[in-house]
């Protein structure tokens, strides 16, 4: 018998919503400690240079400056998983972010001023800013700490294959070969990077108030870098103003802050302003993807052969391992008999990339889904039909040995095809594009020029009404595009454990404290955990607290990544709650004189269904605490997903389960300005089971908008290693007014392993967005889109070239 759920699946406001909206929340940048100093970092002026000398004497004399450090003053290990990144750079710089010196001073202004007084003599050198140049034989070695066993300037090579490639090529009726260029975008967290370090010399104890999303790996990395015992380091996570993957790695500013605090003997805070955030925080991998993909005459996919060159930048971060996720998409998104995949993270003197929500999958899915449209066009097949024909299915074990124990791929595709009216809207073959174009009409309801709708601002923007001309349907072309994705949905086994620990403590007033290893970075995980406990124990949400910010207190967890928190921390919590419930139930059966099966937890009561008698839960706790044998109402549990490590060939079921999603997106292209307006986004996502609809909506909408920025407007522009647009003025994050209507249709596949059937949802919503938009633009105006972002200029150029 299926129990009816009381709170799971019901819209529940986030636990931290009030303090965030009211401004009460204390973010990393808000922390102040007694006697705290402000740190600032001197970064190189040139991306590549020899450092001939550093003179800090003038800066040291500035009143208010407490200490200054350079590489010569510190003894540290390199950071990054390849150990190729010195904290402070000595003798040379290789990237515009490079840290040369750091100052701690009484105020931020004094620290900034001191930086201007440090005299560095550089001998500027030529750099390498193109990964293909870096691969050439005569290229110099860019990172001298790079792993010795790789070919020159390759930080990390990947190779994957399954099936018989040649055989599949021979069977193909059609093969499409393409090169795609994917841009460098960045997270744009509203809370800029900030860390506060507090060191006690007496106790040899370092406390870091850090925004990390991986506190336990961070603790270990910090200890290794500073050559300290990990247990001497305590990580406290203040409220985090956005992570999106940017806080997966530890970056040099963090150990630098600790080093300053140790030297000064006072707490130190380093907080970036927005410009430094753009210059010095990580980006998504920019990459060049060469892909050829095939299909047989019926449209069944035959093979994908992929070679990817990723610009690693000067140092390595976790982001270099994105091929690990990409190969899942290339090998297993849609049924595929054969796949050959190679990827190389290549050193250049560009700013280094990091990890970013989606972790390579937005790039991989772009390549796969764009190519599918081209295959369909070549074969003269319907773009929806070819996808449905090849869709993944429940029970499928893919060439990479991913096991799809539940699978909403086909359902998701069918849902968005149906809801968007895809069949009636798109150009079926791409052949008769021009004639179909003319039939498609532009909107005539709004009149704002140049595709600049003012959606959220329209009440004051009566300009709409005063514009006197009508839209011309020749000018505005509409199109619709389809794309889907697969992503890990039950954690990812890449570390010795993919587990999470939880302790639950029920006090004798009936309040529940959940101490979870997992972290809240704004994604709403503590709310979901609260809901799960509330569901199981019948305790009101307002009587539940989640403690998740202190490594001295909370049990181990890998961290927030791979869309894993609700799945892994949720299952872990369920395990702990089950133990706690056993304890409560054994007492309650005595008090209610009934048996365990008869008990029901509801409204702070434990009830007997048979007799209708009930007892307050807190009373049961008191009976346990205060009567012999006097026990605590506290239980712990460690959950480890049953996923497997992959073998050397990257085969194996790496996640507890997998999430699927599809999007159909309608756009309108202004052929006069090249502007692309996203009109309607239809999202269907296999979420397993909806836990908190409100939180889920937030994830979907946020993801889609991130995907839109990736598709259309965002790019961190780098020229010869320099960042050209380090501000929100020129880094075009979409604004509220750009957000289209987003229609969301959850697909519930009730995963057998997920908590209540749920699977990971966090990364999926942005992954199909860019290819769906690109496919829509191509559908609208018949041009091929191989590069992102699809800027007005690129559109106008392509249109122009087509005409002549």
């Amino acid at each position: 018998m299926k129990k009816e759920l009381k709170i799971i699946g019901k819209p529940t406001p986030k636990l931290d919503a009030r303090i965030k909206v009211s401004g009460e929340a204390v973010y990393g940048n808000d922390i102040t400690l007694p006697n705290m100093l402000h740190g600032a970092i001197l970064r190189t002026k040139y991306p590549v240079a020899k450092i001939e000398s550093i003179d800090v004497s003038k800066a040291a004399q500035l009143p208010g400056v407490v200490c200054i450090i350079t590489a010569d003053d510190v003894d540290t290990n390199n950071i990054s998983y390849l150990n190729d990144h010195p904290v402070l750079k000595k003798g040379e710089v290789n990237c515009i972010r490079d840290e040369i010196a750091a100052v701690a001073a009484e105020t931020r202004e004094i620290a900034q001023k001191a930086l201007t007084l440090i005299d560095v003599k550089y001998k500027v050198k030529e750099g390498i800013f193109d990964p293909f140049e870096a691969l050439k034989e005569d290229a110099p070695i860019i990172n001298k700490f790079a792993p010795a066993n790789n070919d020159k300037n390759i930080a990390h090579p990947f190779h994957y294959e399954h099936g018989n490639l040649q055989e599949q090529k021979d069977r193909s009726a059609c093969i499409v070969k393409k090169r795609y260029n994917l841009p460098r975008v960045t997270h744009c967290c509203m809370g800029t990077c900030a860390v506060t370090a507090d060191y006690s010399k007496m106790e040899n104890r370092l406390t870091l108030y850090s925004q990390t999303q991986m506190p336990f790996l961070y603790q270990r990395d910090m200890a290794y870098t500073l050559k300290m015992e990990p247990s001497r380091i305590r990580i406290i996570q203040p409220i985090i103003g956005g992570g999106f993957g940017s806080k997966l790695d530890m970056y040099p500013y963090e150990p630098i802050c600790a080093l300053l605090a140790m030297k000064a003997g006072q707490p130190v805070q380093i907080a970036y302003d927005r410009e430094e955030e753009f210059l010095a925080s990580p980006t998504r991998q920019t990459m060049v993807i060469d892909i050829s993909s095939g299909a047989d005459k019926n449209g069944k996919f035959t093979f994908r052969e992929v070679k990817i060159i990723m610009d690693n930048g000067a140092y390595t971060s976790w982001g270099a391992t994105t091929p690990f996720v990409m190969m899942q998409t290339f090998s297993s998104l849609y049924q595929l008999p054969a796949c050959l995949f190679e990827a190389y993270a290549v050193y250049t003197n560009n700013p280094y990339a990091g990890s970013f929500r989606g972790y390579g999958n937005p790039q991989a899915t772009f390549a796969v889904e764009r190519s599918i449209d081209l295959l369909a066009e070549e074969l003269g097949m319907d773009k929806a039909e070819i996808r449905l024909l090849n869709a993944n299915f429940k029970g499928e074990i893919t060439g990479q040995r991913l096991e799809f124990i539940s699978c909403g791929h086909r359902d998701a595709l069918e849902m968005v095809i149906d809801k968007s009216g895809f069949d009636g809207k798109h150009c079926s073959t791409g052949v008769s594009q021009a004639t179909q174009q003319n039939m498609k009409n532009s909107r005539s309801d709004t009149l704002v020029a140049c595709g600049m709708s003012l959606k959220y601002e329209s009440s004051s923007d009566k300009s709409v009404a005063s514009t006197i001309f009508q839209r011309n349907s020749e000018r505005y072309k509409r199109g619709i595009g389809l794309a889907s994705m697969v992503h890990v949905g039950g954690g990812a086994k890449i570390y010795p454990s993919d587990g999470c620990g939880t302790t639950v403590k029920l006090d004798n007033f009936g309040y529940l404290t959940i101490i979870t290893g997992s972290s809240e970075i704004g994604q709403g995980s503590e709310t979901v955990l609260g809901m799960i406990a509330s569901e199981e124990l019948g305790i009101d949400m307002k009587n539940i607290r989640v403690i998740n910010t202190d490594t001295d207190v909370k049990p181990w967890d890998v961290g927030v990544h791979a869309s894993r928190t609700s799945f892994v921390a949720g299952n872990s919590l369920l395990g702990a709650v089950k133990k706690l419930k056993n304890k409560l139930s054994s007492k309650a059966v005595q008090l209610l004189e009934t048996d365990i099966e008869d008990l029901e937890y509801e409204n702070g009561l434990i009830k007997s269904r048979k007799t209708g008698e009930s007892i307050k839960t807190d009373k049961v706790v008191r009976e346990i605490h205060f009567r012999e044998p006097n026990e605590l109402c506290e239980e712990s549990y460690y959950y480890e997903p049953d996923s497997k490590f992959q073998d050397k060939g990257f085969k194996g079921n790496v996640s507890g389960t997998y999430a699927f999603a599809a999007q159909a997106i309608e756009v309108e292209v202004d052929t006069y300005t090249g502007n692309v307006r996203v009109l309607d986004v239809h999202v269907a996502q296999d979420v397993g089971k909806v836990l908190n609809p409100l939180g889920l909506e937030g994830q979907i909408e946020g993801g889609v908008v991130t995907g839109m920025g990736y598709a259309l407007t965002e790019e961190l522009i780098i020229e010869k290693g320099m960042v050209l647009n380090p501000s929100f003025h020129d880094y075009k994050l979409p604004t509220a007014g750009d957000v289209p209507d987003i229609h969301f249709y959850p697909i519930e596949t009730n995963d057998p392993k997920g908590p209540y059937g749920a699977k990971g949802v966090g990364e999926a919503p942005l992954i199909p967005t860019a290819p769906a938009i690109a496919n829509a633009v191509s559908d609208a105006i018949g041009i091929k889109i191989d590069d992102l972002p699809i800027t007005p200029e690129k559109v106008l150029k392509a249109l122009k070239e087509r005409i002549v």
Binding site: A449, C450, M452, S453, L454, K455, E457, S460, D461, K462, S463, S466, T467, I468, F469, Q470, N472, R475, Y672, T673, G674, N675, L712, T713, I717, L724, N725, F728, H729, D730, K732, P734, T735, A736, G737, D738, T791, P792, E793, L796, K797, K800
Partner: protein, 290 residues
Amino acid sequence: MNFNITTPETTQELLAQISKHQENNFRFGAGYTDLLLELKKQPDEDLTVINLAQLNDEHFTSISELDDGIRVGTLVTANRITYNEVLEKRYPVLYEAASKLASRQIRQVATIGGNLCTASPAGDIACALVALEARCEMLKTDGTVIVVPIDDFFVGVKKNCLLKNEILRSIIIPSNSENSKLYSGFIKVGTRCSMEIAVVSLAYHIQSDENGKITKAGVAIGSVAPTIKFAKSASEYLIGRSYTSIGTSKAEEFATKVLEYTLPISDIRASAWYRKEALFNISKSIFESN
């Protein structure tokens, strides 16, 4: 960023402060949306900001009717322009430019004077005022007032014609001809809906008589030259024609004339090629309801 600030409340105090600082480094501050960004980039120096925000002088703060037009004080904010129904009805181009500036939050403080004095080639309100052939009224420390046509106000990239002992007090927008039919609007090209600096902009204010003949026309373009430009020959091209009978080829002739005034640059926002191409297209688009 460090500066002294002084806040005159009367015209007299204002002029006294300007006189007092003639030998020093000083700036005016109105809504500060341009000024603070600029000061942030400069090294600390001995700077005084004369804060205009508390000034009680109707010439600076009000929108008032004159015999031959409307006076708009330089301290009027973009939002106030968008809330003013008279401006909206008579000068849609100004109304639209103001409502497309930045975002509502910025518009709440950004002033028309700041927009003009910054003299950015991308100034939205400034572009509309050039199309309207407005006049700039400047006050000198000795109390005298000089009026210059707006086209003379801009002298180079981010340079206006004000002398150190002058301040811009108000803008005078000439009246529309009686019984004229208006074709007036502001087109801004950029990638986002708000918080966007124009990559190209076009302001037009065209009036025709009861027979449909165009009697007056003002066309101005932004972000395609070192300053905002009044496209004189394009404006003149329209005189005597009937707005509603301008078809594709005439529209393109008009657009070609608009392009004569461009001297665009390529930068990270757009290439010179794009700016011209988009400008050509939006220029011809204004007749496309025909």
